[in-house]
């Protein structure tokens, strides 16, 4: 990893965290309504993973999508505007927090129905196979999604059809409030790929470098015809499942234990220890993020709400 990449990825991780901290604040002020699922603690997963993709690789994920959107290049101001339901948001206010998307960035969306986007990912990958393109579809989902039928059907079908898709399970230890071992018959999600004869691996999701290197290797293998693979990335969300989660299912000590190996802290140390950055440079990135967020909030709050006629727009494509 070169210095420029290191600083860029550090910037992205800090931007995700600060954007979400601000979102939580706006939610508590009643400015963001509905549901808000924060990614804080999991930043190294999508930052490392998506840093390994090529422009032709599609990314599709579940509803905890703010971080993924930032890594795919969606501007924080348009993400915050979307959370506030403003017409300047990435989905013009129609989608909200869970449904960010921008095809021009090859980001095929956050999806709110657990597991339902896995067959969609298989379909996107079928497109690349059919058209003989060398893109890989990167499909991210949580540990909870691996207990629903879609997961098993999609893994089976992708293997049978040899689709260029990377299945990425972000195992953050809880499906909402249920610990993995209380809902899944196997504690390592990667084991589930065995039943489909699918190559699988597991990596520490608090360590950006480890995630990035694993993803680079696997994406290259898939691009060279290995067929689909499953990558389990272990991680931890510091906040509740969504805002207002009383979190009766875990103890504060457990959260503190994970926070001691904070992904941003680990990567910061990595950059310093390997001479890829000095303190002053990292502090400058922190300051740049603060300024970006400040401007994004002004943009989002001052943006207009959608007009009523938007309600009837885009129900059908005009033939």
């Amino acid at each position: 990893m070169d210095k420029q990449t290191g600083l860029k990825l550090y910037h992205e991780m800090v931007l995700i965290r600060r954007t979400e901290e601000k979102a939580a604040e706006l939610y508590q002020q009643g400015k963001i309504g509905g549901f808000l699922h924060l990614y804080i603690g999991q930043e190294a997963v999508s930052t490392g993973l998506i840093s390994a993709r090529l422009p032709q690789d599609r990314v599709i994920t579940a509803y905890r999508d703010h971080g993924v959107a930032i890594n795919c290049g969606l501007p924080a101001k348009e993400i915050l505007a979307e959370m506030l339901g403003k017409v300047t948001g990435v989905s013009r206010g129609k989608g909200g927090s869970m449904h960010l998307a921008d095809v021009s960035k090859n980001f095929w969306g956050g999806h709110a129905i657990v597991g339902a986007h896995l067959p969609l990912a298989a379909g996107l990958a079928l497109g690349d196979l059919y058209q003989k393109q060398d893109g890989v579809t990167i499909c991210m989902f949580g540990d909870g999604a691996t207990n629903i039928g879609y997961f098993h059907e999609a893994l089976n079908l992708s293997k049978v059809w040899n689709l260029p898709v990377l299945w990425v399970c972000e195992n953050n230890q809880y499906g909402m409030g249920t610990a993995v071992d209380r809902a899944s018959a196997v504690s390592q999600i990667r084991q589930k790929a065995e039943g489909y004869g699918m190559t699988n691996s597991r990596v520490d999701g608090m360590n950006l470098v480890a995630v990035r290197e694993a993803a680079q290797k696997i994406l290259s293998e898939i691009r060279n015809g290995s067929g689909p693979q499953l990558l389990e990335i272990t991680t931890y969300r510091y906040r509740g499942h969504s805002m207002g989660d009383p979190e009766r299912y875990r103890k504060p000590e457990e959260i503190h234990l994970w926070q001691e190996q904070d992904p941003i802290g680990i990567f910061r140390r990595h950059l310093l220890d390997n001479g890829l950055a000095v303190e002053a440079e990292l502090n400058a990135e922190d300051d740049a993020v603060e300024e970006e967020i400040r401007e994004a909030v002004i943009f989002a709050e001052s943006s207009p709400e959608p007009q009523a006629e938007e309600l009837f727009r885009d129900i059908y494509v005009e033939a």
């Binding site: 129905i113 067959p119 969609l120 079928l126 497109g127 879609y150 089976n156 885009d314 129900i315 059908y316």
Partner: protein, 327 residues
Amino acid sequence: MPEMTLIEAIRQAQDEELARDPNVFITGEDVGVRGGVFRATMGLYDKYGPNRLIDSPLAEDSIVGVGIGAALYGMRPILEIQFADFIHPALNQIISEAAKMCYRSNGEWTVPLVIRAPYGGGIGGGLYHSQSVEALFAHVPGLKVVIPSTPYDAKGLLKAAVRDPNPIIFLEPKKGYRLIKGEVPEGEYVVPIGPARISRPGRDLSLFAYGMMHHYALQAAQKLESEGIDVEVVDLRTLYPVDKETILNSVRKTSRALIVHEDNLTGGYGAEIAAIIADEAFTDLDAPVRRLAGPDVPAVPFSHPMQDWFMVNPEKIAAAARKLAQW
């Protein structure tokens, strides 16, 4: 003009669309090597190969999900759900994904997708091979619901569906697959999605139907002609979005309306047509709007007499029309 069966028209439409556009492909259970359980894709595997006639695992929600993904990619998938009864595992994909993609993305994502499914009873299929599912989908903005009843329309509408940039539920009355024959011109044509068709003009009463029931409605109308009752028959063809204008114009002319479907009565598609007429042509009516539909039981039973009691047929339609004409 060559005469052919409904299923042959459907097969031919798919053949021509596969030949026309390399982005068209077909997937579903047994659509490839087997040629489809009703032979709707017979011969196409040999002609177009395994990359375009893709045998899928037995997993309806994934068939539809993969189709949506490929459509988002820019492909033109035709999906076959082997029986409409088997479509229910895929409801989430159809209702929550396909129908909402355009809306959630402000028109950026398009899902040019056709989901074909044979539906309806009267073939001894019993509870899980006889269902009518149109009312479920005709409730969902973002989808279009098409049901052909003649070989001409089946071919033309299916070709239009393949070319339409929106997700289409294309329901085929399977009892009519080999029973209904009709003339189909050689060469290229499409039948636009949307307009209903007056298949038999008349003065005394409007009879609205689709699919197999339209076929039966024409038989009933013919029978009533000898009794001096002049029935206008309207084949709705596209259930959603519905062609209100043709419906209302017909009722304004005849002042009497009977809606027929084999799906059960309550919450059925006929209720929507009745409401449209009540709402917008109330003062033109000389009689209450009537519906003739399957009974409100959970499924079409297996035994022949029970199936016959369930099914609407030309005699039942004629009786209901006669009664309404005399009201």
